[in-house]
Structures are given as C-alpha cells and as structure tokens.
Amino acid sequence: MSMATTDRPAPGAAPFVPQAYRVDEVTRVLADTVTLTLAPLEGPRPDFRPGQFNMLWAFGVGEVAISISDGEAAGSFVHTVRAVGAVSRALAELEVGARLGLRGPFGRGWPLAEARGSDVVVIAGGLGLAPLRPAIQALLANRQDYGRLVILVGARSPEALLYRDDLAAWAQRPDVEVQVTVDHAGADWPGRVGVVPGLVEPAAFDADDCVALVCGPEVMMRFTVAALRRAGVPAERIQVSMERNMKCAIGWCGHCQFGPDFVCKDGPVMRYDTIADRFAIPEV
C-alpha cells in the first residue's frame, strides 16, 4: 500500500494548477457509473490517505471533486465517477488514452490509526462505498491491528451495488462480517432487502469500543448515525464523509462551508460529535 501516513499532503506551490493525467483503464461498473484508472503523464502519483479526494478536470468543461476509490493501484489514481452533472458526464465519457487534469489529493481522510485496537464498522450507502474501499483495503492489509471488522453496505437495488467482486471476496474472509442490503429487489435476489441502518443492530461489534466509518447520501447517514447512537456507539467514535459544492478544494472559494467547517479541508471525513449540532438542520 503506497499510502502516506501523514494526515495531509505537503502544500503545493500552485494548488490551483492541475497535473496532466492519462486514462489508462475505463471500467463500466453501473449503468451510469464508470471506474477510471488515471496515471500521471509525468512524475510519480502523489501519496494519499483513504477518504481523500482529487479534483478532476475535464478539458474545457470544468472540475469536480471525486473521492479516491482504490488503495491498491500502484502508480495510478482510481476514481469511480457517476454521470450526474456536466463535468462528471464528460469524465464518464472519457476513453482510454484521453488526457485530463487532476489536482490533489485533498482533505481529511478516515482516521484509521485512531481505530487501532478497536472494532471497525464500515457503513456504505450507494456510491458511498467508493471512498470507503481504500479504507477497507487498508484495514484488511493490517487486519491484526484491529478488532472485529464489520462491513454494512446498502444500495437501491442489486443492480446498483458497487464493487460486487470485492464484496464477495471480503465476505469470503473468516475475519470479516459483510452484510449487504438493497431497498428493493426482484424475487431472484437471495440477499437482504431493507435499509442500511437496519443492519446496525444485528451486527456483531463492541459498541463501547469501535469506530464507525459512514459514507453515503446525507439522509442515509443521518438515519445510520441514529442507529449507531441507539446501539450505544459514542458520537466521537462515528466518522461521516460529507459532500458539498467545491470549487477550490483548499478553503478559499467558500462554497463547501458546513457551519464553521470547510468540507474540503476540515473534511470530507468529519467526526460526528463535531457536526452533530447542525447535521440535521436544513440548509446549513
């Protein structure tokens, strides 16, 4: 794993100027979602921490913040991009060999070091599994440093599940509990149907000594945090990954403010107790 151990990368001299990257691989993972493998045209790929993000720039279209979704791709950045806006659509249409701009990595990642010795509950909803996959990979690479490892994953439907091969491989391991649920399914789906927060109560982990890493749509995270709190997990042991509009990724443009925090630099991974006062207030 080529991941830096410091919380943040060294400040760049020109943090606004992207580096040129080349698309080495495109994998369609869902109908509207692709995974891009991006290699720098020059120099090494910067180190990153699981949970950090890059700003990807599509030529002449614009820039968007996308989390890094694979910690095991040596020399490249892997991003899973869903085509939802002009920029992400342009990115999702890139072909192998195409060039794009990339700045990063930015932001606060998952505090995996703090979780050492404790159980870890990873909870992902929808595309929220993307920024959690490098965390899961890092946890598995250092499996002996942690207690029980529980991975709870939700999606809209079986067809919308991300990284099915990884989920299957993790589920094979005797030292990992993987539970997957979908909002609705056809009768041929052998797995669970229901919402992610419902997976929390039956999962086997020590609520008094665990760290929960949560990423998904904000509503899903609110319900999930509520389920974790009901299960007895302290607020300061819950980490959520927030999403806001971002233009600069370095705390200057102001767009990503969430109360006093800039999601780009104080997040995107934020300790729940530090945002609990505004997590459920609309329009903050």
Partner: protein, 381 residues
Amino acid sequence: MEPEAMPRPAALIDRQGLQALIDALADEGYRVLGPMRRDDAIVYDDLAGIDELPAGWTERQEAGRYRLERRDDAALFGYAVGPHSWKRFLHPPVETLWTAHRDEHGLTFRAPEPAEERFAFLGVRACELHAIAIQDRVFLDGPYVDAGYAARRREAFIVAVNCGEAGGTCFCVSMQTGPRAEAGFDLALTELLDAERHDFLVEVGSAAGAALLERLPHRPAGEADREAAATVVARTASRMGRRLETDGLKALLQDNPEHPRWDDVAERCLTCGNCTMACPTCFCTTVEDHSDLSGTSAERVRQWDSCFTLDFSYLHAGSVRQTPRGRYRQWMTHKLASWIDQFGTSGCVGCGRCITWCPVGIDITEEAAAIRATAPDWRDD
C-alpha cells in the same frame, strides 16, 4: 484599544506634502490608488494628484441609501467609505488561474506569470486595514498560500487615513476596528483642518513608511498636533451611525438557526448579493472554464461569487440552500459567528457597506439586535 507604550514617530505635512507623497510613491514604481468622485460615488482608482481627491465632498449613508453632498470645508478625506474596497485590487474580481493546451503529445497547464504591479493605497480606513488583515488570514495562513495575493500584499504600500467623519451606517467602534488606524500601515494620516490650517499628521508604521516620509517636505509634529488628531478621531468615534452588540453574538447566531427572524429577513432579502460584493472581507469565488472552438486551448478564470446565489451550494440533485432564508442565514452567521471559528476573528469590520448598498436596506446590526431581543437563552462562550 490598548494605549501605546511609545508614541509612533509623527510629523506634519501640508497639501503639497501629500502631493509629494503621491509623487514619491509613483517615482518608486507604485501604482498609486486612492479615493475619487465618479458616478456620484467615492470610488478607488488610479490617482495622479491631490486634485483628484474628493475635496469638499462627503456622503450621506443610510440603510439602502448613499448620496454625495457638499461639505462646508475643503477636506480631502471628509467621508467614510464608498462602494469599493481595496479587496478589488488585492483579491481581484476576475483572475485567470491557468491556461491549458493540448495537442497530440499531451496536455500542459501554465499558470500566468505573476503581475509585477506594486500597489500603493492612499486613504485606507481603519476598518479597511482590519479587512485586509482578515483576508490575509484566508489567503496566507492556511495550509496553502495564494501566491498572487501574497505577492500583491507583500508589495503593497499602505497609507491609512484616520476617519474624521463617521458614516451613517458605520459601526467600527462596536467591532473595535476603528476609527483610528492602529496597525497594518506604512503611514497613517490624520487630516487637521480649521480656519488656520490644512495639514496632515503623519504617523509612521513601518521602515518603508519612515523612509518615504524622509523624502517629503515635513516638519515635526508637536504635542498640540497629536492632541488635535486625537480629537478628530474621538469625535468620529462618538458619532457612529450604527451599533452592534458583539457580546455573545457568535453563540446567539449559532444557537438560533431556527429563529423566526430569519423568515422575516427572508421576506425582504432579494438575494442579489450586493452585500457580499461590497463587503471588504467576503472572499468567496467561483471558477469558469473557457475553451476555444478548436478544443486545443482552455483557461480557468476565478471570479467573485456570492453565497446568495442558488448555484453557490449546488450539489448534483439541487442546491443545499434553496431558500433566501437559508442563504441570508448562511451569510450573516458566517460573517459574525463561524468566521471566528474559521479564522479567529469576526468577518465584520463595521464599515456599514452591506447596509448602505442593500437595495432594500437590510441592516445587519438591526437583524442581530432583533434576534437578540427575542431569542431564548443561549449558551455563554
């Protein structure tokens, strides 16, 4: 304000001395910028001589109102602040961040060469010195440094002016940011004007300021001159047009996101963003991408943005802050409360521009007072 242990070196110059100051700055290669009357307002622009200063003019400012009026004297700085602030030079409204070029070999990005321009600001008010110091924290104190801002800021020569006139929407006394310039300048002037004299007390704030003063015809300032200058500032301090109670203000706003006053102000707010453009500390920006028709060149431009736009908080499905209520609350809570969490200082310097230039006259001091008057108890901090 803390009384100073040692008075700063001070001197007196007259109007010719002020012209000499402008000339000396230009001679040293500065682009000298200062106040002048244009389009019925006092704005900041390139200044060649003292004749361009708004001699004998003042302004009447109220919520949503700004009118220039004749003074009954020939004061050069007998007004408060207009719609401009110095941020338009240090943190320009439009700035190219980089250009990109692609061909069969690859893709290259190039940041523009930093401009060689050195600014000299003449007539910077105490509140504006604080505003500059606040933007310094945004662009210079983070993990990253805005190189362009840093260069402009490092090179800038600042001539402050202590206010001899309080504007109708001024409340720097409440914010402890004026009306006297305490720090952050090279030279600070106080206009001393009566039937017998028209002089400027010059205080030195830096080595560069001291060196420049040596180039000007000046004479030593006496105790009486200092007292006259102190009187000017004290009189201005006693005539503030507005007042803002800052005690507990941060907690008051952060603890009352559902206060009904937010609905009330949202009924009036047009979400036009004027307050954010006029504000000397508002720093938010957006970016625009341009490309040529052949698809080989592109550029990225940064420009001032406002938290009052819907786009500001847009997130694939829609905007986080859909309502004027949410957007006004964001602006005011940021300015007066969360700014303190972020940068260790309030984002407000009490200049009153947001009040004056609001087309419907929304008054931040009045909104804060209304919330305070009817809020349930809030925590102490």
